[in-house]
Symmetry: D3
């Protein structure tokens, strides 16, 4: 008899043979409004059995011989200590990148992305960030805290500087944040217009799922009406993967407590499946 | 004083005078992922009083003199015994068809459709199936079971053979199922393109409501993002009714436990009302 | 130390300096199907802190110096006595109008709008009503009751007469109501086509939020599939404010018990913010 | 084929042969805090199929030949018009009492009890009231309204006068109400001590289910911790039925929206079954 | 890096060294009223991390060196085919019993217990059943089906015969079932009186958690008010384990969809922990 | 017109005249299992209007002339920074204590109690702690974090030392924690036996509401079956207040997201009302 393994559907390969490594970052200590993203990776893993492994649009299957993905489970993180949590996550991504694999982190709140960006930047000095989100996340600090879901892209800018951050779908923030973006990042309000400007770059792709309209993605902490459609997000994510050198990525801000029907989890899983299939073709 | 009758809104005519007979098939024993469709017909009947009987788009009213519909209530079915349940449902539809009336069955899981298809096929050898769904439902077996929600259209094909099954809106399944469809059915991925190919046929119309996008129809067992809109489904259903000889039909896979706001029930009811009004004009 | 003030986000100015006055009308005694709108204003006030004060589309901020709004809290109303409740609300709006300010009432069920219409009509004889809704609300009576959510626009017509009522987005009602509308009001089915016909008028703007599609606005008592999108409603509401003389307005029929994810509240709040910003520019 | 009857489990006898008549009073317009009792009778009827007809403690079965109960369904009442609603309900009870049958009304809010008390008092001048409740319900008026869930027992006192009202389980109210009770009613705080004082009387028995502790009965509008146990309530209700001449009774204040697990409905149904069985032995 | 293991808290030993084997039987196809027990084992495993491994009452810890438990995960069962599901589960228990270990099965609906009883009876001819439940489960058939949650103890009697079945806590069933029990089983109504009569026997212990009062255990398909307390059940289960030769056991009928606060899952887990600790001392 | 004040029911006095000051500490960043206590104070304040101000058991009323309580609202705290949050809360309590008033803090997670203990200890060197809880909270660290809900009483011991901490109702923890308690605190397992040992002391009273059984208090992050009853807790809390010199106190760990019926909030409010009335008599 075997012990009980639990992996994302179709992600049951060994670490050595895999080119992509998924892991969960169940952390939401800095979430100021409605917590719950800590439950995302566990819920997604459990619900992934409601999904098929085959994609009719890409005509690829997670069970195809050539597709090898490893699920490393969730990292146990210290609630209430964001500095330490970021450090642990950065170390984890670093280990994966050292082995020439692509880390795909499942949040958790958006702050966790900073760990992946830091890790990737150590390996790739020319790293750019492609950022899909409803919110600017460009505050200098939030409630007196410098490391927060609301400041994460600003902290990334501290590291990467001007001209490296490309934001899409943004529809909420302070006036100061939009002004900061005008000078220091490339910010596309409301949608994915001019996405092709990132093609060809070496990229960390971070997808805050609240970029979606709340009608299709209710399960998030800070819903922001007027968002993009499921098909728009899916198409744009695949375009980035197919036209850039994506070295690491994440999917954050699914909050299962605000998803009573489970449909937001289904949305996150379908985007994850399509991303994995596209990444595996690189 | 009278005993307490409970019927779908406006479906309180006598059996004899009615041309359409609605009934519930509260069965979901083979549902593998999330059960609950057994509650659909009862919930729809109870909530139908939140709907108006009048349709502003068709300018018809369920209370118009010329429109006569009978609600036969729900059939009590043996949970855990799909073979027997199908038999009981088939007998019920057969009785209605013998009386030259149109049976409209409210599921339950999609397997129940097989009962109606079998009954209709006894009367109409040239029967075609028009199948709206997110899923192919073409498996040869599922978890070792041949009669299942995931195999129902395959079982229909066993009966009807090639060239008789027309599938629309399909966006999920095994690679083998899509390959089977290429050889044996007409399968339209994602939408209702080329719906007119079914016009003029004698038709069993089966609508798995998960063909809708989960944003408008969260209340179903296996949500599949990227679906059709409410207006697309409504228009397509009415086109089939208005342009084909629909001899029997069903509406399946509403699952009230996953519909906390009740909106999926409202969607199912509005589609039901419009279908009843259109069917009554034949 | 200060006592605990609770206002809508950014609406913490003094009454004297403000040009707009928000208040809640927590009343739903005549709701026949699913009650709950009584909780709307309190829930919106509490959740308003999840919203930003800045609007990227209007480039205005509720905290801008020039924008002054007063939140008067909720009026305590006698449940079960609609006549008295309407009287109390009418008096409250009257007081605001006397001070040359714009009352913006948060329902509550749609019946509360009648109080604002009565108050505004006392000041403006040429008053027109712009009515966004899924339902006609033109019944002469409902379950034997003349003052009801289902009769509110008919009662307004009793007061204003022909040619003064402009209805948009309507998709549900009795056949008689649509016939009444043909003779006595201007009714646009399903959408906002020809909205410009109201431009230039002196207007009471009443928005029943169930005009929205239930996918984006599940949290309402009588969901009606096939509705308008969030962006359509937002654009239309702003066009009315920018092109008419809006003397009073309301936002009604949010029902928090049917909004488990809180997204309907977020939708209502974002529309409220945009309306306040636009009204403050007059 | 037969039309769809829906009755409380085992209450499907004809009116003529029955000695007890159940009916629903789906009204909650004066509920000031959390509405929802309007859904109680419909929910109870639907869920009654999860209950057995046999009582192991009384060794009686609702299907026994000698037990005849008629379910008259729900009365359609005008929301927002308590005066008219009470009139309609009083007429209904009167009709049952004229036929020498026992009316058992399912609320709705507690105000509906006044209709039954008025009807019974017309037939029985010596009528007493046995009142199980967490709340005194003795206010002279509530929010300016004289006919309200919070005043119902005071209105009964207006009719019956001193010495006729026996209250048990009371643990909440204004100081004035407790003072009023000292002079005009018999009020037992917290439990059923001295219940035998009512034995032998002709009685209207009104059970506000919030007399139960919220642990076993969460589904009510105004939960009041520190209540009686299920077995205490059951025993006390049966003692009243077995030792008094109960001429009419009711069961009120189940609020299904606050009963997510359905257990409060199960509690109400089991108490109803036991009461019906005991009443049928008189 | 390691693949993601998921076990019940503290049950992560190897099969070989373990004396107890836990596994899930996620099956509820014959559930007639409210399904959902299929989710119990998965939910319990996930939530077990909210529990401590240490028991202050037994002063034992699941992490003590001497306590070795293996979690075999869930068996994938064919929904809609109870006969085949029972066969697969029987084979699984047989394998464990052959290795001289104690199987502890987590249901699923009560029917799954039959598999364990059959397996244990092959090894132990003198097997008795200790049955804690709200329901008799002694029907000869249910809705025409012989293998059902409502017939499971009757099927066990078919196998074991008179004098072998000891039922406690029973408070619901048909009159015929209670009569059958008088002749063929030992049935204690309502509580655990005379539990000592089973001491010394070789026992299959089956605990239907709905024996608990719904106040403490709302999360079950068929709630039955008037049940035993948590401490009564715990004490009785431990007494059976400590005073009998328990060769196999199960814990069934937790239904997570009816447990919105998660407390029923916590109850099931705490009983499981205490049972495991007590079993490990044999 | 007045701005919208929102206070706990009956706590609307001025700061100066009040002897008790309530405030909320909406913080749960270190909660490791299920967050949500951040919402407690806001929810309690909003729901307090469902409660009466009068206590039939104490025959006191929050509106009595002699009872003066000030509600200071909620303190805005930096999520993700427990050290800073504790500092801010300590300063707030210190200010109240300086003015010779009793601070009553509404959590939030249990860590917040440390702020009040620190503040009180500055004024009262002989301070003891009376601690009602299901959990020991005596860990040296938790997931590498020293300031956590699971370590709070250990941190208090760091400050106060042996012989000053009195724990009641405890039924969960590590074996090490129970061993620590044997040497350093007075720990009563499961109930309030020997409560009188604290009488006469100068006391900080901290009530973790999860000491209650989950049947009556489901709304908490870490439910622990087998707890005390509502009446036991109420009686014990009042005994401490009446027999000790309570200089500060708190009520923590209500988590509204796990309280779908609102009853846990009602329990917390009723305990709060009784505590306030008893404290006001000192």
């Amino acid at each position: 008899m075997q012990q009980n393994l639990e992996t994302f559907l179709g992600c049951d390969n060994s670490y050595e043979e895999s080119s992509i490594v998924i892991f969960g970052a169940p952390f939401d200590s800095t979430t100021s409004y409605r917590p719950g993203t800590r439950f995302a990776s566990k819920k997604m893993r459990a619900e992934s059995y409601g999904l098929e492994t085959y994609s009719p649009s890409q005509d690829l299957d997670l069970e195809d011989e050539s597709i090898k993905i490893f699920d490393a489970g969730d990292i146990e993180l210290p609630f209430g200590d964001p500095t330490q949590a970021l450090k642990m996550l950065e170390n984890f991504s670093t280990e994966i990148l050292e082995d020439k694999k692509i880390p795909l982190m499942i949040g958790g709140e958006h702050l966790v992305s900073l760990s992946g960006i830091r890790a990737a930047h150590k390996f790739f000095e020319d790293l750019s960030i492609v950022h899909f989100d409803a919110h600017t996340d460009l505050r200098e600090e939030y409630l007196g805290v410098r490391f927060s879901h609301a400041t994460v892209i600003r902290r990334a800018w501290d590291l990467l500087g001007d001209g490296k951050i490309f934001q899409f779908g943004i529809r909420s923030g302070l006036r100061e944040e939009f002004q900061f973006a005008k000078e220091h990042t490339s910010l596309q309000k409301f949608d994915f217009t001019n996405l092709e400007k990132v093609f060809g770059k070496r990229v960390y792709l971070t997808i805050d799922l609240d970029v979606l309209d709340p009608s299709i993605f209710p399960g998030t902490g800070t819903p922001e009406p007027g968002g993009v459609s499921f098909l728009d997000l899916l198409k744009s994510a695949l375009q980035v993967i197919q036209n850039c050198d994506v070295v690491a990525c994440d999917l954050v801000e699914l909050s299962p407590p605000y998803d009573p029907s489970g449909n937001s989890t289904a949305v996150a899983l379908k985007i994850l499946r399509e991303m994995l299939l596209a990444l595996s073709q690189k």
